[in-house]
Amino acid sequence: MLLVLTLLFLFAVAMGAGFIGSLAGLGGGIIMGPVLVLALHVPFPYAVGASAVSVLGTSMATGALHAGGGMTDFRIGMFLQTATVPGAMLGAGLTVYLSGLGLTSVLLVILGLVLLLTVPGALARLNEELPASVIPDRLARRFRLRGTYHDQRLGREVPYEAAQSAPALGVMFGAGLLSGLFGIGSGVLNVLAMERQMRLPMKVATATSNLMIGITVAAGTGILLLVGYISPLLSVTVASGTTFGALFGSLLLPRLSNRGVRFLFLPVLVVLGVELVLRGVGL
């Protein structure tokens, strides 16, 4: 009975994680991982495994609701994935070895700091609806990293073009590494790189990130599965929750403003970041 209640609790939390994650392009693993470790004391590698599978659920759900493509830019997504996937492969391999060395506390502190580091950037852009004065770089022009999308809230077609794509590739490698290490979809860095560095509209960044997180996490999940860090019952329960949450989130995304999305997610980032750092240092 206790197991049933625990699974129901996890399903409910995962729904919330999938909902928020799909709105912000963050997958939900960044919420589920800490909840599993902090609230349920799941050993870190198993929490990573369940988070990774939950991110796959979020990515799948968002893809299902945008059968026509929506705001997802496949072209930019593939360009960035060439850096993210190798990072994820390296990160997943490192998880196995670092856990064996008993470095879980270090991993917790790093994850907490990663969360907190995203806060100032998000605060600085709280009132920005669309990026202005974007100057495309050489790589962006070479690979024609530009497009348009229909903004339901603004009621018009919005053209966009990428800037600083070379440094963005470096950030994406780091994003992949984090994804492999922590089972998170690297969505935070995906969105930051696309929105802040490449100067893409927030909604294009989150929608494209939702595609990318699934691809990135898949690269590392195979390793976690074969090593035995993915508990089928735990992972599928969590993934079912994030899938349903993400379905609802994807329905809502086109109607929300960027400000609303950031306002929703900021407190979650701060609380979890602080908690993870404190836990990692043993307080």
Binding site: L7, V53, L56, L211, I215, T221, G222, L226, V227
Partner: protein, 135 residues
């Protein structure tokens, strides 16, 4: 004076999004049904299971041998059905990249088709070469 914008690149054909979207929708339905059945049957068959005992269910063995995996499915073992859900979830992004690469190639957008194929190759290498090596 209106700002002159560069010509837009050929985006992935709408057909690619529709085909991939329909496949993903089917995956959502199949995963939902299999997950619900798998979880309920697991809990009914293993009433003594605890939260810590479910963490260490073996996963590598069943997945590495397709023969025993199929046998597990045919025998109605809920763990195998839950593993099938995980394998479908893993397959979805791979299929999305493959479909995108196919339609980009068809549209002669060689650069991005090449990138998509590169990503696909890395994904397959991670799953079928790197994963068994790390294990």
């Amino acid at each position: 004076m209106a700002e002159e914008r560069p010509e837009l690149p050929p985006q992935v054909a709408p057909a690619a999004h529709i085909v991939s979207g329909r496949l993903v929708q089917a995956a959502v339905v199949v995963c939902t049904v299999l997950s619900a059945v798998g979880i309920v049957v697991f809990l009914l068959r293993q009433p003594e299971a605890t939260f810590s005992s479910i963490l260490t269910e073996p996963t590598a063995g069943p997945v590495l041998s397709w023969g025993s995996f199929t046998q597990g499915l045919l025998s109605g073992d809920p763990t195998h059905y839950l593993l099938l859900v995980i394998l479908i979830l893993l397959a979805v992004p791979i299929v999305r990249v493959a479909v995108g690469a196919y339609y980009l190639g068809k549209a002669r957008d060689r650069e991005v088709a090449g990138m998509a194929l590169g990503v696909l190759a890395l994904l397959l290498a991670a799953l079928f070469i790197l994963a068994p090596l790390v294990r």
